[in-house]
């Protein structure tokens, strides 16, 4: 996977806050800060992994980048165009360039729609192909993701989870996008099928020069598939590094704990595990200062009052921590 240093998508201080309503008048009482100030450059041809525990805002980040959620604050620059305030009509040509693969292959397909029709839909909206050409293209897509031509007429319930995820992938690449957000595309699948889908994603990337934003909680899959990895905690950036640096030299205490917590499929080797105290704090009422200080093993007084700066400690390796 060759990554040239050309920025495809630039995300600047993006925030997404969801209002929490309550009381008789349903007034806004609070905000859930799902994504709270993310600044990123996504390079052409790379796979950028976004990892973190549930509730850290990684999925919301993916959805916000695609314009599926409105921005609370910040800027989105795609291929040099600032698209943050575009109307939906202005956005249409950009939507063609950005697609998404969803987590749950059971929920993301319409049970009453034939597979052929589901794949054709994006072609109707975004291209001027005739119905014959569209059919041709759909058959080619089915072939490309490892399905058969006779699957054109079938309904989603006739497919297994792995096959449905292949359909989801075919739908995402149908209009030749350059950028795909994969939101936990393999978490709902069994391990043997999971490996098949990972392989497919990799082959397609090579063939079409795709750029992926790969949202996942599975650090093994991320190491296998990604070039760079962003670790998020409570909507904020914790560490960003090229994949080998992050796994061999994790610097933020949260990244360290996350990596040490993964159960390894090897026996006999007892590793020292960093135990984190307690649970993830509520994102509607995040701790002051460093968001991680309540669970951090090396937290000092400073961490609870002052927000750590985002700084580069090595080439391409960024962290937000006072102590490291």
């Amino acid at each position: 996977m060759a990554v040239d240093e050309q920025v495809l998508y630039s995300v600047k201080n993006v925030k997404k806050h969801f209002p929490v309503r309550g009381g008789i008048l349903q007034r806004v009482k609070n905000h859930v800060k799902a994504v709270d100030g993310i600044t990123l450059d996504i390079y052409k041809g790379e796979t950028l992994g976004v990892v973190g525990e549930s509730g850290c805002g990684k999925s919301t980040l993916g959805r916000t980048i695609l314009g599926l959620e409105s921005l609370t604050e910040g800027e989105l620059v795609f291929n040099g165009n600032n698209i943050s305030n575009y109307s939906s009509r202005q956005l249409k040509p950009f939507k063609k360039e950005m697609q998404m693969i969803f987590q749950d292959p059971y929920a993301s397909l319409n049970p009453k729609q034939r597979i052929g029709d589901a794949l054709e839909e994006a072609l109707i909206i975004h291209t001027n192909l005739s119905s014959l050409e569209r059919r041709e293209r759909v058959l080619q897509l089915l072939n490309e993701v490892g399905l058969k031509e006779e699957h054109y007429e079938r309904y989603p319930h006739e497919f297994s989870g792995g096959q449905r995820q292949r359909i989801g992938i075919a739908r995402a690449i149908s209009i030749n996008p350059s950028f795909i957000v994969c939101d936990e595309p393999v978490s709902a699948l069994d391990v043997s099928v999971q490996a098949q889908v990972i392989k497919l994603l990799r082959d397609l990337q090579e063939k079409h020069g795709l750029t992926y934003l790969f949202v996942s909680h599975d650090l093994g899959v991320v190491r296998h598939l990604c070039n760079r990895v962003l670790v998020m905690y409570l909507g904020q950036m914790v560490e960003l590094a090229p994949v080998h640096k992050l796994y061999e030299n994790p610097t933020h205490p949260y990244t360290e704990a996350l990596l040490s917590a993964i159960p390894r499929p090897t026996v006999g080797r007892k590793r020292e595990r960093i135990r984190l105290k307690g649970d993830l704090p509520s994102p509607s009422n995040p701790p002051t200062g460093c968001p991680f200080h309540t669970r951090c093993p090396i937290a000092q007084n400073k961490c609870s009052t002052e927000k750590p700066a985002w700084r580069e400690i090595d080439e391409g390796h960024f962290i937000a921590c006072h102590e490291r």
């Binding site: 297994s160 069994d190 391990v191 917590a261 993964i262 159960p263 390894r264």
Partner: protein, 335 residues
């Protein structure tokens, strides 16, 4: 040699359907010794959860144990009436489920649900049960247990709920604990906490445990012995070191090769082709042969026998038979 707590023999569990009975478990035999952790691994639909539910007597109404026996402390659980099972369940054998939110009742407090088994099985008074409940919550590492007793499940986080489930399951000092994917719904840092807790408690209380999971990493952390299931059958069984360091069945090898290794960037991911067969699919011979890279003629005709590799490791695969060319033909091409 430690005494055997549970002995399952030729268990067949079927489900009623319009096309006749569908076998979900096809003749599983295994045993669990005192103080031992047995892991059952396999992908969804392999029958691992149904095996557990058969032991617990919790099969859905369209499922039944068609054949075989389940001996627990010299009593055959497979022949017990539902009433007799109630006395065993939650008392001698208890179970933890995957999703703690659906396993706990949302309209009762944690205290009510933890007192219930204590009052039924141990005949404690409400007050005694309450005190014991607080002790149990403390044992599973829940902070401020006195206040937690009056809270409802929705007020707790996922990890806390799973701890409450464990406290309830352990309330009557069971000699066997069955854990069905207890950490699958949890985040890795919380998962690590729960695995440590289960390991500690098992040691402390000297109970046996059956852990059902699909995560090969979790198995390596917790198991003494491992059973690998595929399409309703046990295809390999052995000590955890044997399974990881010297797997014999092609499916076990495939399973280990399809988990990306976090510590090794050069790890070569090798998916198993195809997918798990449906329950009603008729497969002649070995049920894995359509997906097996080493399958030869005999595999398609005859169901494999069980071959012994070491004193603890058994494999159901024709490749183990003497005289089969181990390095020839299709075998060399992969794995």
């Amino acid at each position: 040699m430690k005494e055997t707590v549970l002995e399952v023999k030729d268990l067949v569990t079927t489900f009623k359907s319009a096309d006749g009975p569908l076998p979900a478990v096809r003749g599983a035999s295994f045993s669990v010794k005192k103080g031992e952790t047995l892991c059952i691994v396999g992908e969804s639909g392999c029958g691992k959860s149904i095996t557990a539910l058969s032991i617990m007597g919790l099969l859905p109404s369209n499922g039944m144990i068609a054949d075989g026996s389940i001996f627990f402390n010299q009593k055959n659980l497979a022949e017990m009436s539902p009433k007799q099972m109630q006395k065993v369940r939650g008392n001698d054998v208890s179970m933890i489920f995957q999703e703690p939110m659906t396993a706990l009742n949302p309209v009762f407090t944690v205290g009510f649900q933890i007192r219930e088994p204590l009052m039924i099985h141990l005949k404690l008074s409400k007050k005694q049960a309450h005190m014991r409940g607080i002790e149990l919550l403390k044992m599973v590492g829940i902070p401020s247990p006195v206040e937690r007793m009056n809270q409802f499940p929705h007020e707790l986080s996922g990890g806390m709920r799973q701890r409450v489930m464990i406290a309830i399951a352990l309330s009557c000092n069971p000699s066997l604990l069955i854990a069905d994917e207890p950490t699958t719904a949890l985040d890795v840092t919380i998962q690590a906490q729960i695995i440590d807790l289960l390991n500690d408690l098992k040691e402390q209380l000297d109970m046996s445990m059956i852990m059902i999971t699909h995560d090969m990493g979790v198995v390596a952390e917790i198991a003494d012995r491992v059973i690998v299931m595929y399409a309703g059958e046990i295809i390999e069984e052995g000590r955890v070191e044997e399974i990881y360091e010297n797997p014999q069945h092609p499916y076990t090898k495939g399973l280990l090769a399809s988990v990306p290794n976090v510590d090794d960037p050069e790890f070569d991911l090798k998916p198993i082709v195809g997918s798990m067969p449906m329950l009603n699919e008729q497969i002649s011979g070995c049920r894995f042969h359509p997906r097996c890279p080493f399958a030869f003629d005999k595999c398609m005709e005859k169901s494999p026998e069980t071959f012994q590799v070491t004193d603890k490791q058994n494999v159901r695969c024709w490749l183990q038979e003497e005289g089969v060319e181990q390095n020839g033909g299709r075998r060399a091409s992969s794995l």
